[in-house]
Symmetry: C2
Subunit: 390 residues, 2 copies
């Protein structure tokens, strides 16, 4: 069963078709798994083999194309009828020199009379490789290809009330995961055992609903490693006088609510306590700056003002759009809180506000998933903003 009513999918589709008309695309080949899900409900761990959804301006409903073995997943998880689900035989997968899935896609487009059209492809999505594009072009010499990476993504920027509700459920789930982490971290406990407890909470979820797998596993570097934000865990034991950086997300029906906190085992040095204070002050300033009409630039500037006052700098972006996603990341890749981004915020856009400082020998971050409300912002999780001491 798809996660939303058919009417919600149809209204998304309508917006996508308007985007296609603006860009003069007759056909859209959607291969980003999150975009496929957004339009059809399709949800399976099958994006390691080629698959896609074809949207044509001439056709009311989109068409799913995927592996034979996954047709049952399409039957079960999408709102599409049998006439809009096409599965390729397995031999398309394992001998690319003889036949490739993109040949199947080309044949389908030919059969539908779409092979000489203007076709949008998601050139910079994770699961559309350079080879696929070369193969498709070699088969459809009369088609006119264009880059549609941002087309469906842009429609996803403003969430429906139903999507926000899913993100709030994800927030309930991440509160449990973060609580479990902070409760279980102490000197002598292995990092992997803390990670195991976090996973248990994120997947078990609440008494009312379970969790889905987050697109990224918990990031939790400790001690000096905390200056390397994309490390996971080891089987080392935590030690006294260690800092632990924790970033994780709850996930419900592929909608994410990330959250980061920082823990110190023992009495923190002045320098760490001070940095934590500044980061939290900057986080609060950024949250206050988020409201309809403000720009991404404004939000970054509010944070920048606080840290500049304290003589700190941060080069990386200070937040990004979130919502529906698949591995390898929960970022929606539309908007970023950066000085150069003047996108105007609207109600029900959602962001991971990501203030953190990674310096020479440690890292500190306190982050929140938020939605833009009618007159401000709402943090999705309810979790104390402080340096947790153990």
């Amino acid at each position: 069963m798809p996660a939303f009513d058919k009417s919600e999918y149809m209204s998304r589709l309508q917006e996508v078709k308007e985007g296609m008309e603006e860009r003069n695309f007759d056909v859209l080949l959607v291969t980003d798994p999150a975009n496929m899900n957004y339009l059809t409900g399709y949800d399976a761990l099958s994006f390691y083999t080629p698959q896609g959804v074809v949207v044509s301006l001439d056709e009311e409903h989109p068409t799913w194309l995927g592996r034979g073995q996954d047709k049952t997943c399409a039957d079960r998880t999408t709102w599409l009828d049998e006439d809009h689900i096409f599965a390729y035989p397995d031999y398309y997968l394992w001998e690319p020199e003889k036949q490739h899935v993109m040949d199947y896609v080309a044949d389908y487009l030919e059969k539908e009379g779409l092979d000489k059209k203007s076709i949008g492809v998601e050139m910079d999505a994770y699961y559309f490789t350079a080879y696929w594009f070369e193969r498709l072009k070699s088969r459809l010499a009369d088609a006119n290809f264009g880059d549609a990476t941002m087309l469906v993504r842009n429609v996803r920027r403003v969430k429906s009330e139903n999507e926000i509700e899913f993100m709030k459920r994800a927030a309930r789930i991440v509160e449990g995961g973060m609580r479990k982490a902070i409760d279980s971290i102490e000197a002598g406990v292995r990092e992997c055992d803390v990670a195991a407890g976090i996973f248990h909470e994120l997947i078990s979820g609440t008494d009312e609903y379970g969790g889905a797998y987050p697109s990224l596993v918990p990031l939790m570097p400790s001690g000096e490693k905390s200056n390397a934000p994309h490390l996971t865990w080891t089987d080392d034991e935590y030690e006294e006088d260690q800092i632990v950086y924790l970033e994780m997300a709850g996930c419900y029906e592929r909608y994410h609510s990330p959250l980061s906190r920082t823990v110190y085992i023992g009495e923190p040095p002045e320098r760490i306590a001070e940095t934590a204070k500044v980061v939290i002050e900057g986080l609060n300033a950024a949250l206050n700056a988020i409201k309809p009409g403000a720009t991404c630039h404004d939000v970054q500037a509010a944070w920048q003002d606080v840290i500049s006052k304290h003589g700190l700098e941060k080069e990386s972006r200070m937040g990004y759009s979130i919502g529906l996603s698949y591995p390898p990341v929960w970022d929606e890749n539309t908007e970023y809180f950066r000085p150069e981004n003047y996108t105007v915020l609207k109600p029900n856009m959602a962001f991971h506000v990501m203030p953190g400082m990674w310096v020479d020998d440690f890292g500190v971050a306190f982050t929140e998933a938020v939605r833009v409300t009618e007159d401000g912002s709402e943090a999705l999780a309810d979790f104390p903003r402080k340096l947790f001491l153990k």
Copy 2:
């Protein structure tokens, strides 16, 4: 700290360079995260942003190129010295129309005098998008690009004793996950709570070593959904007279040992019990067929003989190479047990032998991770091969 001694990385590199010479590549741009890890040890959850390793025939050591924020991860996890780690500023990421990471890569290759060379790129790897390739080509008009998707992968096919040891540790871990799953499945228990217990075991690992995150989360469709092998879990409760398909992998230092078993809650119908018996008989036949000198074709044929005798058919591949991997899959994408594959097996190749039947209203599979020994095969996990009844 990288997972292996520098000498092991240097010997891998030597084999890769021989492959480059054979294919007339002067330069190799490695972007598959597993290949990057294989050559340098690099291990971080950063493959959602562009990164790569450049191997040049003229240079003894490879060079890591990645995001500024991830330089600390490269410092910590690779064996490379400072002169072989280059980090790009964050602004390359967020305004692709102005500057893109592939511009940085092109500048690097120019600076090193490699921009007019024959350059191998991994055209069909998950994290080398169509856009990256277009951008790189547009910047390096005098380079001669070729497809090197299989070059490092092919070197990975035969494992060292150290790699096999890591896979055996992963097998100890997956035994714990599977045991936990089978113990906890029963009518009235939520699927997500069973999944939570599995994750806990896979990450906590054993008393001696912890687990890493597997490249794919557990697949565990139940009841009629079991005919859709790539579904995960829901928050529904298990019911009496349900079949549950379980596929998961333990992971140690990115090396995987997958394992599948099937469970029935209650007394199984004759049809399911019979199918399970045939699949196990076919699995055993396939395992017996694996030995140095046999081909992938032979292994598939041994399985095919058994199921044909019982009037069953299976279209999808019956196994694939495994070892080192990153999301979205633990498949190494080199060899497959298929009728058309005549690759000759060698000691320390490793496979996921994947016999399963997915029919109209249920699915049954019993699978093993194995290595090829000097005179046969060795299943890495020690777990009963039977239909588990609950």
